[in-house]
């Protein structure tokens, strides 16, 4: 582990003084490499808070360009970034927040052909993607790579967050929680149905919280629990997520042993 410089001791003083984090926890964050899938509504607060916390390396994977309609919630990007790749805009914003963070930009769509290579360089994955094919792919790749996955999803006024950690024996995976994606056309996306902008902030900040807890080994992460947030009711509810013995990915007799491109499986173009 690296030593903290005098400037780093100051920059991270409010974390270091917390007994649960301390200098050791801070060094763990600085030695960590986190991949953020999607540099949008969820990926923005995740990347900003992980950068501020001093996570050593942040990877951003997204093939989208910044659009005006993104700016209501995607706080990594500003008006002058319209038309730029989100990963480049995100890299610049992160550099402004904390120039110590190494940012790796992956200007691609996560797919079966590149997912294992991209994930290989990281310690933890945060999924803030905006479509089911990427969610199943991120889950499968993280599970196969043995990496913890902090997943969050939002729709209109509601959000869901949970943690899958293959290093924990009882940990379920996304397929234990939702064995099948919805049929195409049955669920509207955010562009069709709208999304409450600050919802992305709340859910993304909970994802960042869980990522920091997992990286530093403090508290009880949401492994085996799904947190549900309803902004209109201002309610937080937790339900249990059980590892499914019939799971085709993480069950005792897996039928999924390699990555699949789910565009075809889900039948949607996102």
């Amino acid at each position: 582990m690296r030593d903290l410089s005098e400037e780093q001791v100051h920059r991270y003083a409010r974390h270091i003084i917390l007994p649960e984090v301390g200098g050791e926890g801070q060094r763990r964050l600085m030695d960590s490499k986190v991949l953020v899938v999607g540099a949008g509504g969820l990926g923005s607060p995740v990347a900003l808070y992980l950068a501020a916390a001093g996570v050593g390396t942040l990877g951003l994977v997204d093939d989208d360009l910044v659009e005006l309609t993104n700016l209501q919630r995607q706080i990594l990007h500003g008006t002058s970034d319209i038309g730029r790749p989100k990963v480049e805009s995100g890299r610049d914003t992160i550099a402004h927040v904390n120039p110590e963070v190494e940012v790796r930009t992956h200007l691609v769509r996560l797919g079966s052909g590149n997912a294992m290579d991209i994930l290989a360089g990281y310690d933890l994955v945060v999924d803030g993607s905006d479509n089911f094919p990427t969610r199943y792919l991120a889950n499968d790749a993280a599970r196969m790579g043995g990496l913890p996955l902090v997943t969050g999803a939002i729709f209109q006024f509601e959000g869901q967050v949970t943690v899958f950690d293959p290093r924990v024996d009882v940990s379920p995976c996304y397929r234990c929680l939702f064995p099948n994606p919805p049929p195409p056309g049955s669920v509207p996306n955010c562009a069709q149905a709208g999304v409450f902008g600050v919802l992305a902030g709340v859910v993304g900040c909970i994802q960042a919280t869980e990522a920091i807890k997992v990286l530093t080994g403090i508290g009880r992460p949401l492994v085996g629990s799904l947190l549900l947030y309803d902004a209109l009711e201002m309610s937080f509810t937790k339900v249990r997520v059980v590892r499914d013995e019939r799971c085709p990915l993480c069950g005792p007799e897996p039928s999924i042993t390699s990555l699949i491109d789910y565009e075809h499986f889900c039948g949607v173009n996102t």
Binding site: G40, F132, A153, F155, N180
Partner: protein, 91 residues
């Protein structure tokens, strides 16, 4: 028998925009039928044509996923809370 059923945003069009509805029944299937009697179309939103719960919608009794209990035949008692939870993908 009074069961509180929490309805997610995406399904509130089937419950007159209500976030929670009260229903009666001693099994999950009866509660779904009870809601469907007042809000036609609700059952089809959570139960597929083969008579099982849709695989992309989870239903919890209190905090337990009914897939790991007795699915639609899961017994309910007065005061239980049923939560309907669709998979969502927005980010």
């Amino acid at each position: 028998m009074s069961i509180q059923v929490r309805i997610p945003t995406v399904l509130r069009k089937h419950t007159g925009d209500q976030a929670t509805v009260q229903a009666s029944g001693t099994t999950l299937a009866q509660v779904i039928d009870d809601i469907d009697a007042r809000h036609p179309g609700f059952r089809a939103a959570v139960v597929s044509e083969d008579g099982a719960l849709h695989r992309f919608i989870n239903v919890y009794v209190n905090d337990e996923d009914v897939r790991f209990l007795e699915s639609l035949q899961t017994p309910l008692k007065d005061g239980d809370t049923v939560s309907v939870l669709p998979a969502v993908a927005g980010g």
